[in-house]
């Protein structure tokens, strides 16, 4: 009897990852891409807004999700996307 594992392709800081479709903590997503928990990891939403994914947040990534480290704060700072 075979086991079928559903996967999704997501992007973290521009790198492609094929992940088993299951729940992940924000810390796991950071670890995959070699990021620190202090990095503000966000998910790009369809309307262009960003949702912060803190290390303890549990999410189920969906196909094509784009995660990146967001720095867009303080005077004169721009949003940068990996």
């Amino acid at each position: 009897m075979s086991t079928i594992i559903t996967t999704v392709e997501v992007f973290i800081e521009g790198q492609s990852f094929t992940l088993e479709s299951r729940e992940y903590k924000g810390a796991e997503l950071r670890e995959l891409a070699g990021l620190h928990n202090k990095d503000k990891l966000v998910r790009e939403e369809p309307d262009g807004s960003e949702t912060a994914i803190p290390p303890g947040r549990k999410i189920v990534p969906v196909e094509g999700d784009n995660f990146y480290v967001s720095i867009r704060f303080r005077r004169g700072w721009r949003c940068t996307r990996g």
């Binding site: 202090k38 503000k40 912060a52 290390p55 704060f73 005077r75 004169g76």
Partner: protein
């Protein structure tokens, strides 16, 4: 408690278990772990004032106790917060803005999507981890 903050509160406590809600002025207070190098203490409280217009209006900055700063004596980019009703604290002007100074604060009706208090707190942590850069 501000109604939008109430919607976000369970998530805030989930990520920051010691989060406290205090009034006059209304604020969220959490404890942040920071690096002893370059800072003068390993843990610090950080407070975010909740603007009356939240969520449309994003937070205007964050506060840390007056004694918090760089261990080498460099000036910490903050000003006395007594005028904000927070004597003994210093305020860091900290906004979600683009290079032209326009706000990029984009909350949504869903408290778990778009900009929210957790995202703002995460920005503070990142900012402090980058030595306030």
């Amino acid at each position: 408690m501000h109604p939008r903050l109430e919607e976000e509160w369970d998530d805030i406590v989930g990520e920051y278990p010691d989060a406290r809600h205090e009034m006059s002025p209304e604020r969220v207070v959490v404890t942040l772990e920071v690096a002893l190098d370059p800072y003068n203490q390993a843990l610090t409280p950080a407070a975010v004032l909740v603007p009356p217009g939240y969520r449309s209006t994003g937070p205007d900055g964050f506060l840390v106790p007056s004694g918090f700063g760089f261990s080498n004596g460099d000036a910490f980019p903050a000003s006395d917060a007594t005028g904000l009703g927070m004597a003994g604290w210093q305020a860091v002007s900290f906004h979600m803005i683009d290079a032209n100074g326009a706000s990029t604060w984009r909350p949504t009706a869903d408290p778990r999507r778009g900009d929210n208090m957790i995202g703002y707190l995460q920005s503070i942590e990142s900012f402090i981890a980058r030595r306030c850069n």
